[in-house]
Amino acid sequence: MNSKYLVQALQSPVFSKLPGSLAVLTLGLCGVATAAETVITIESWRAEDQVIWDEQILPVFEAQYPEIDVQFTPTTPTEYDAAITTRLSGGTAGDIIVCRPFDRALKLYDSGYLADIKDLPGLQDNFSDVARAAWSTDDGSATFCVPMASVIHGFMYNKTAFEELGVDVPNTLDEFYATLDTIKEEGSYIPMAMGTKDQWEAATMGFTNVGPSFWNGEEGRLALLSGDEKLTNEAFVAAFTEIQKWVPYLGDGYQAQGYTDSQNLFTLGRAAIYPTGSWEITGFQENADFELGAFAPPKLDADSTCYISDHTDIGIGMNAATENADAVKTFLEWTTTQEFASLLTNAAPGFFSLSTNAIEVENPLAAEFIAMRDTCESTIRVADQILSRGEPALGTQLWTLSANVINGSMTPEEAAEEAQSNLDAWYTP
């Protein structure tokens, strides 16, 4: 009886016409799309950059290649990795995948989701080995993303406050603490805006920001990878000790101060120094009504080299299952050009192209950051290559350990001890 009604319903005029009309509609849409141009989509976690891509970057590409229509379709950063893996395995991901550096992109390549694009001409000509390393297999036999941008760590400061208090921009650690002491004694500004509640600032703006000066940048990082150095060695313990010294200069209740709290504290003009990275430039210039400056992590003493964490952060690669491989390759080749490098660097100040082509940086604050590349040695975040592959991942461990050191629930030695023993549990150099 029931099925009889169902059949009747399906035979009714409305239902019988629906599938047909839907089919016609779908066919029509497909027809329009294929006849005019190939549509390719970009998957990214940089939702903030939607306007930049839509209005500044993509129109330039589409003017040169009118037959290709590129869509920028970002996902929230915290969901990106899980979402992109699901979409790639389900076959619904976009044609172009914006890549996280090192292991997270490598994992996608190893699962067969990202195509090897090593033979892309521009990739070989316009990038350094260090830049390519972030998106290549360990032996370098395959490269699966075009290096796009890096972020540079350092400190931002309130220029107005510095002038008011008559303090100079510090170069060495001694000068750094002298500056902080002066600000603290004067009392109208919180010397440094950083909290430990969200934990990652302690590691990213603290440990990996100032640490390279102690472990000599790449030298120490590679020694850690090869097993010649251990996290319990003096250089790494010293980095933990260093961030512990910041405690007296942080605001009251820094233990419950989150990342956005720190951002607000600084842009409202209540704090003088903010340990950070170049990715804050756009937001801070919008929100702060005082002049901003930047300085590199302080050197150990006047004679030593300065090191910056110039972190390869964003790459762009091809979905191995894309049906528009030619169009995607055309686009990726374009991302290796100086034109793209210059567009990106100036449209998104603080995200510096990894291209070896010379680029004019127009934003003054961004220029201060990129100038650090000339005076300091570059390295990348210490835990990002290989060391975050196992359980527990050193990268995430450092968050908790650095926060613990600043909160006083661990000594620097204990933190280093724990990091090393956790690493030993799964990593053999």
């Binding site: 699962s111 509640k197 009251d252 209740g253 233990q255 419950a256 709290d261 359980e391 990268g395 549990a425």
Partner: protein, 321 residues
């Protein structure tokens, strides 16, 4: 049709027929709930249990028996997190039992006094936070307690307690208790309503009889009303137990984030499960270990609820008003 109607007069056969057709109705009416429950609850549980018995080797799933459970209980990285999360859940449960439910019971007892004026207003006010989104509650309390912009430091200063203020959410010693109190503030309305409904159900004659026998006020509550609402107390206990494992995640994730800081002091089974399954920052997720944690959580709840159902509830007699 006609014949059966004719024979209906003698009883036996038609009754049987009506019985059969009634049985079909049962299936038809049960079907939507059964199908939905199977698809959205039973199937995921079975699938989770299945996933927890597998490991991934070179991209394909291989049966590993109880290997994942052994890892969870013995490998330091997993065992420490598991023990810590479980212990924090126990604290959370105890605090809710010792603070939330007595407060709810007390408020319900006061609200159920017939002569109380404005009971409806109080009832609404007490229940309102329950209706708020956890994210909103988390955000509001973070702001209230913020050492930078919060109202608490100033308010405490105003009454001379300024030096007692601490960034409670950021301290290992107090973060979990603070979270628990926020949760109690939000959810006290649910046990309150259950107790309140149970108290209203107690017949007036019983209370009157007690009064005639010479009891009054507190003693009526303690000797008469409380024993009569014991089944509700049991229900609230089991709801608190389940909520403590499932609902606690929302609040902790929205206030303290996935790492449940400081130093994992607010980590519960929910946040631990989230990190294992989806990964966190550079730690990549592990579907099978995630499923194992989820299954462990499932068994913990199952054992708790089972103990209650077979050990406690059967001995409780519901008052037949």
């Amino acid at each position: 049709m006609k014949t059966s109607r004719g024979r209906a007069l003698d009883g036996a056969v038609p009754r049987k027929r009506i019985g059969t057709s009634r049985r079909w109705h049962i299936f038809v009416f049960l079907a939507p709930a059964t199908v939905l429950y199977t698809v959205f609850a039973i199937y995921p549980i079975v699938e989770t249990l299945r996933l927890s018995l597998l490991v991934e080797v070179d991209g394909s799933n291989v049966f590993a028996g109880l290997g994942n459970y052994a890892r969870l209980l013995t490998e330091p990285f997993w065992a420490e997190q598991f023990a810590n999360a479980f212990w924090n859940n126990c604290i959370l449960f105890l605090l809710h039992m010792l603070v939330q439910n007595p407060i709810a019971l007390m408020l319900a007892a006061i609200l159920s006094i017939p002569s109380l004026r404005g009971a409806a207003v109080y009832r609404t006010v007490f229940f309102l936070p329950t209706l708020l989104s956890v994210v909103v509650v988390g955000f509001i309390w973070q702001l209230i307690l913020s050492p930078l912009w919060g109202i608490t430091p100033d308010a405490m200063k105003a009454i001379g307690l300024g030096s007692w203020f601490r960034p409670w959410l950021g301290l290992e010693s107090s973060a979990l208790i603070t979270i628990t109190l926020i949760s109690i503030w939000q959810y006290v309305g649910i046990p309150l309503m259950l107790f309140y409904a149970a108290l209203l159900n107690i017949p007036e004659e019983t209370v009157e009889a007690a009064r005639i026998d010479g009891l009054n006020g507190f003693w009526i509550f303690w000797k008469v009303k409380l024993p009569l609402i014991l089944p509700t107390l049991g229900l609230v206990t089991i709801l608190t137990y389940i909520g403590n494992f499932t609902v606690s995640f929302d609040l902790i994730y929205s206030v303290q984030g996935g790492l449940a800081g400081p130093n994992f002091s607010t980590d519960v089974m929910g946040t631990f499960l989230f990190r294992s399954f989806f990964g966190f920052q550079s730690q990549s997720g592990d579907t099978h270990m995630g499923a194992t944690v989820a299954s462990a959580l499932f068994f913990i709840i199952l054992i708790g609820v089972g103990t209650y159902l077979f050990g406690v509830q059967r001995r409780l007699l519901r008052h037949e008003g």
